[in-house]
């Protein structure tokens, strides 16, 4: 019983609640999951005529959780997909940013990022949250 409780606690601890956020001044409001996927898989860079800049986190656990729950891809599938885009000249590989850099970038309107919900700041709004 003790072991099960410890495992559950551990799972709760490592399982970040990933949300997609943007600056409150942004023109973007709630966007569907499919559109978040298209933005992060470089199928589009616009939402209703608004040019969007998606940024990536260098937090590996957060990034993997984002890939699994929101992009519905394993780490290996995500990497293979991006290798295909980069080595066919379609897109340059996006740099993964540290927390401080992400906070700075999110000051720009229409920039979006995935974060752990507990790190949400008052100047940001959630535009996608997994149910």
């Amino acid at each position: 019983m003790k072991i099960i409780f410890s495992l559950l606690l551990f799972v709760c601890f490592i399982d970040a609640k990933v949300v997609v956020v943007t600056n409150k001044k942004s023109q973007l409001n709630a966007i569907p999951k499919e559109i978040v996927q298209y933005l992060y898989l470089a199928k589009t860079d616009k939402v209703e005529s608004v040019k969007v800049k998606p940024i990536l986190s260098d937090d590996k656990n957060l990034h993997d959780e984002f890939c699994n729950t929101i992009l519905c891809k394993s780490e290996s599938q995500y990497n293979s997909y991006w290798a295909r885009l980069v080595f066919t000249g379609r897109k340059p590989i996006a740099k993964r940013l540290e927390w401080g850099e992400m906070v700075k970038k999110l000051q720009e309107p229409n920039t979006i990022a995935y974060i752990d919900k507990k790190d949400l700041r008052k100047e940001w709004k959630v535009i996608y949250e997994e149910n």
Binding site: S74, E75, Q77, S80, R84, V86, F87, T88
Partner: protein, 391 residues
């Protein structure tokens, strides 16, 4: 030739200016791969552009390659990209070649235009065939991917992408020409191939989980060498104009049609492509398909594949009454089927490791994509491994 010279000038310009540019990016990719084919009567090859491969021995020539990609971002909209590879070629020499390179315009408004040397978009993975890390299998099914023996052309490509409701679509149009040398190994010959007025249209639509793709290509193609010219002028000299018209590969209006369906949903991977090459000449019409099913267990992705290709009219049954023409037709037989089982292991963001077993069954006399001097076909068991990397 003018296009070729212009292309090389662009490449030199790219390399020269890139040294001074802060927006210069250089990346490498490659594969170290070994293949063992247990049938000593066949030389197992990746495609017809290879001469050597595995014949009851371990060969590192089939899949091993190293590639380099340079990108020069001139401004937000314009960039110059160049990709070259080093691998074993059809003269059994390890040589470097420029695979593609172009000036790219990205409007930032759904439109991309490329001008230069561009990959011919026959198949879903035409663009990234050499980038093993981006693919599930060590090599794509030759029954589909081996149908058309040229991979790049000089010209223009226009891509338009957009979203309707929750679905995306991409329209891709291409126009250009190509010149290349195609080996006819079984006759120990090479053919000079000219591809003119190449145009194509691709449509891809779906979601990130499920996508469908349609391809149509058309080109006027001529294949010639001294032996072919002698053969067809000889037929005409003997009044066999009908045979010469039927089989001569000269300004032949050629087509390729393909359709594909791709699923990547909840760790289930499924892909299938069907292709049909129509070249009314000795080069003969062929159609084929493959279906691959995989499942992603985090870092391990096991998969199985079944593939088959068939000649529209079996060339191995050709009996025209002209021995030299019959020999040429027999050499075109690409009918075969194959079953593959394998696994891809994702090591990290830079490496993966793959193993696969392939059972190949050539059909019809003188057949198979793999080199053999046998008339009657035999089965092949092929074991492969590969380490792919990107940096």
């Amino acid at each position: 030739m003018k296009i070729k010279r212009l292309f090389y000038k662009i490449c030199i310009f790219l390399l020269a200016t890139s040294v001074y540019s802060s927006e210069f990016d250089i990346k490498t990719f490659g594969t170290i791969g070994g293949v063992y084919n247990d049938n000593s009567n066949y030389i197992y090859r990746k495609d017809i552009f290879q001469k050597d491969g595995s014949s009851d021995d371990l060969s590192f020539k089939t899949d091993t390659l190293i590639g380099l990609q340079t990108s020069l971002y001139i401004n937000e909209k314009f960039s110059l990209l160049l990709q070259g590879i080093v691998n074993n070629n059809y003269n059994d020499e390890v040589k470097a070649k420029i695979d593609w390179g172009y000036l790219k315009y990205d409007s930032g408004e759904n439109v991309i235009v490329k001008i230069g040397r561009i990959r011919t978009p026959y198949y879903k993975n035409s663009d990234n065939l050499n980038v093993g890390y981006s693919n599930l299998m060590i090599r794509e099914s030759v029954e589909v991917y081996g149908q058309v023996p040229f991979s790049s052309y000089n010209g223009i490509e226009v891509i338009y992408s957009n979203i309707i409701d929750r679905y995306f679509y991409t329209l891709q149009a291409n126009y250009g020409s190509a010149e290349l040398t195609v080996p006819i190994h079984s006759l120990n010959q090479k053919a000079n191939v000219e591809v003119d007025d190449l145009y194509s249209l691709n449509i891809t639509f779906g979601t990130t989980a499920l996508q469908a793709r349609f391809t149509y290509l058309n080109a006027d193609i001529t294949a010639s060498n001294a032996s072919l010219e002698q053969l067809f002028s000889g037929l005409r000299a003997f009044g066999l104009n009908e045979l010469a018209d039927k089989y001569e590969f000269k300004d032949t209006s050629s087509e390729y049609m393909g359709v594909g369906l791709f699923l990547d949903y909840n760790n289930i991977l499924f892909s299938t492509e069907c292709g049909h090459r129509k070249i009314p000449s000795f080069f003969a019409d062929v159609h084929g398909y493959y279906a691959t099913l995989g499942y992603s267990f985090d870092k391990f992705i096991p998969f199985i594949t079944y593939a088959k290709s068939k000649m529209d009219v079996p060339t191995y049954e050709a009996n025209t009454g002209v021995a030299a023409l019959d020999a040429l037709l027999h050499a075109q037989n690409l009918a075969q089927s194959s079953k593959t089982i394998g696994v891809k292991y994702f090591i990290d963001e830079n490496f993966d490791l793959k193993f696969q077993y392939e059972h190949v069954v050539p059909k019809g006399d003188y057949g198979s994509y793999h080199l053999s001097s046998l008339q009657k076909p035999q089965k092949l068991n092929v074991f492969s491994f590969a380490l792919d990397f990107i940096f």
